[in-house]
Subunit: 230 residues, 2 copies
């Protein structure tokens, strides 16, 4: 595994551009997760759920401001860093608009979980400073227990909804992959974080294969913790 | 103007119940304002607007946690204190669901403004500790400049929308008054904060008249700062 030299952010403009992309896509992801989870709160059946989701959304906003602060330190406006990712992420959310509260919960856990896994994998290939912030943002699993509890409870009350939610989980993965491919094709610098650049060796095909295997396992584990087939 | 004795929270159970009601209705108002403004963010035309609204929503969440902390100090669960106000506030929001982003902005400024004015008036009749928290929550005008700027800009771009938004402002006031009357009728303790209780003189009719006049003036001033007729 190839880790960039500590001075790579200064010495390697392509690497710096890639890190700005990484922080930008994460920032837009957290900002829209904030909006989405707060809206799920408004659909919540109970006041307790509203409070739990507001706390969760507020954590996403804290991630967003942290990413924005780091970009500002690097001399970049967060608005500018996010701009290239607005369209693919908006499209992902438009194609995967939950039709009810439960679908929103599965999306917040399973959809955001795949994204977080991916960026945690990428964080193995970046400088330690960037790594720390990516791991803090993507390693925050504070949502999990609450959502697992609510989705399992709903399936217990009405076992028929398990089939619909399992299909929904598969659709989330499919849409996420198709938008990720588009981003990878559009943003060369970002892709080179994983596969390497001119002076920077990255993951080889075998490593990428293992990474996809790990992501698939984690996804299956998340679905099954909800009581759903992956 | 009659201010309760510093020990009223301990000595007067009716007064204590009224303060719990006051903090509960404010907490539910801030929690739903949080959800609403975050959802407005998702409808925002630009990334800059999204960021501004996320910051605003996040401030509402901070108010909510502050009110919840104070209720906990008083030995009350915020969930329980909010419960009586869920239905009237949910109905208010259902009857005044904005049909677009601009209506959402006017609601966040004009609708929340009337509510804040009312609670600031009530805060003249409570103990200093309760007063401090009500004034911190309701005196926060951080939203104003951003919203005024955006709504004025929209009217400049398309003057025809001024008529529709002026009507919308009037509807917000009408619905707010009709829900407020219901709350006043259902929650005796809360009403006595203003009009007084057995051992606690409150506002007389002349004072209430002046209060309504001040609220009307503030509302008119807010509408006109948006470029709208009240």
């Amino acid at each position: 595994m190839a880790v960039p030299a500590p001075n790579a952010l200064k010495a390697d403009p392509e690497y710096r551009a890639a890190v700005i992309d990484l922080l930008g896509v994460l920032a837009y992801g957290e900002l829209t997760a904030f909006e989405r989870i707060a809206a799920d709160g408004a659909m919540s059946p109970t006041i307790d759920d509203k409070i739990a989701l507001a706390a969760l959304a507020s954590g996403k906003y804290a991630h967003f401001t942290r990413l924005g602060d780091r970009l500002r330190e690097m001399g970049v406006r967060v608005e500018d860093a996010m701009e290239p990712f607005k369209r693919p992420l908006d499209e992902f959310h438009a194609y995967t608009a939950p039709s009810d509260w439960l679908e929103g919960m599965v999306k917040a856990y399973v959809g955001d979980g795949i994204g977080a896994d991916f960026y945690l994998e990428v964080s193995n290939y970046v400088d330690t400073q960037t790594q720390a912030i990516v791991q803090a943002v993507c390693g925050d699993a504070s949502a999990s227990a609450f959502i697992v509890d609510r989705v399992r409870g709903a399936i217990q009350d009405d076992p028929r909804c398990a089939g619909r939610l399992a299909l929904w989980g598969r659709r989330l993965v499919g849409e996420a992959l198709s938008q990720a491919q588009r981003v990878a094709a559009d943003r060369d610098a970002l892709s080179t974080l994983l596969v390497g650049g001119v002076d920077r060796p990255g993951a080889d095909l075998a490593e990428i294969g293992r990474m996809l295997a790990r992501m698939t396992e984690n996804h299956t584990r998340r679905m099954s913790s909800l009581g759903l087939a992956a």
